[in-house]
Symmetry: C2
Subunit: 140 residues, 2 copies
DNA sequence: TAATAACATACTAATTTACTCTGGATTTAA
DNA sequence: TTAAATCCAGAGTAAATTAGTATGTTATTA
């Protein structure tokens, strides 16, 4: 049940953008240095975040990245799903739709499947109710 | 945020033991066949479950495995922790104790860390309140 | 003593992860 | 107009993890 480093780094970087939301565009090199993350790796992560519509970019000198919407309307769940795909404990309950491809065969009446769905929903619910703004408020 | 196949298989196998709790010792070959899991792989999983005190075994003909305690007192969290170790989204908040070894450096006042702890606790709370007995009741 | 079944451990192939490497495109400012 | 800064794109890769196999031993029962 571990998060990928992409997800972890992505949340940290987005938090950095939220923290500096009023400063406009922030260069990736600054973020990478501040968060101690490989710059090239972070570039890949930001490419995904941008394609996912969570951040905006400007090229060239004075360019950089900024949040696509204010911190109060970006949720952790959005970030992780963009970077890692659906948040689910097992492939079998990955989609909200009901056409499972379980390795257990018995797609109907699979007791374990009920558990995985509960767990999936439980995790997503939490991550979808915590915004970047909420996290900023945790600051001491 | 995926569960390992060990965790998935382990829960399914334990559920199988719960379903047949009154029959006494069940052979691993029976479980492997019923659940369509590699028998040798399942042996490794059962070794861990046994060392973790969740199941009991008998050797020889008529031998097999049975739950170490009744289905109502074995929780999914126990099973997964025995098989996969601490349930945590990032290594940094793996222990309940407060000596973090974060890759982010700033172990104090790390906003992301607060999130990971919340997520860790949220997941563990759910998995620690669902027993095998609870899952049996989901049967239709 | 033969069959059955748990127990133990080493090995391995495939996949995934977490990056690095290389080069190009765009913008700003001197 | 040129140099520097910056984003952008995609291929490659080493290490770790995962999901198993393979082989053999020990214990129990009929």
């Amino acid at each position: 049940m571990r998060l990928s480093s992409r997800g972890e780094y992505g949340v940290r970087a987005m938090l950095h953008l939220a923290l500096n939301y009023n400063e406009g565009y922030i260069s990736l090199s600054r973020i990478a240095a501040a968060e101690d993350i490989s710059q090239q790796y972070l570039e890949q992560i930001f490419a995904n975040l941008r394609r996912g519509g969570l951040i905006r970019s400007n090229r060239g000198v004075k360019g950089g990245y900024t949040l696509a919407s204010p911190p109060q309307s970006i949720y952790v769940g959005d970030i992780i799903r963009v970077l890692d795909g659906p948040i689910t404990p097992v492939e079998c309950v990955s989609e909200e739709g009901d056409e499972p491809d379980c390795r257990c065969g018995k797609s109907d009446n699979c007791l374990a499947r009920n558990l995985w769905m509960k767990l999936r929903d439980h995790i997503n619910q939490l991550l979808d109710e915590i915004s970047l703004q909420d996290m900023l408020k945790w600051k001491n």
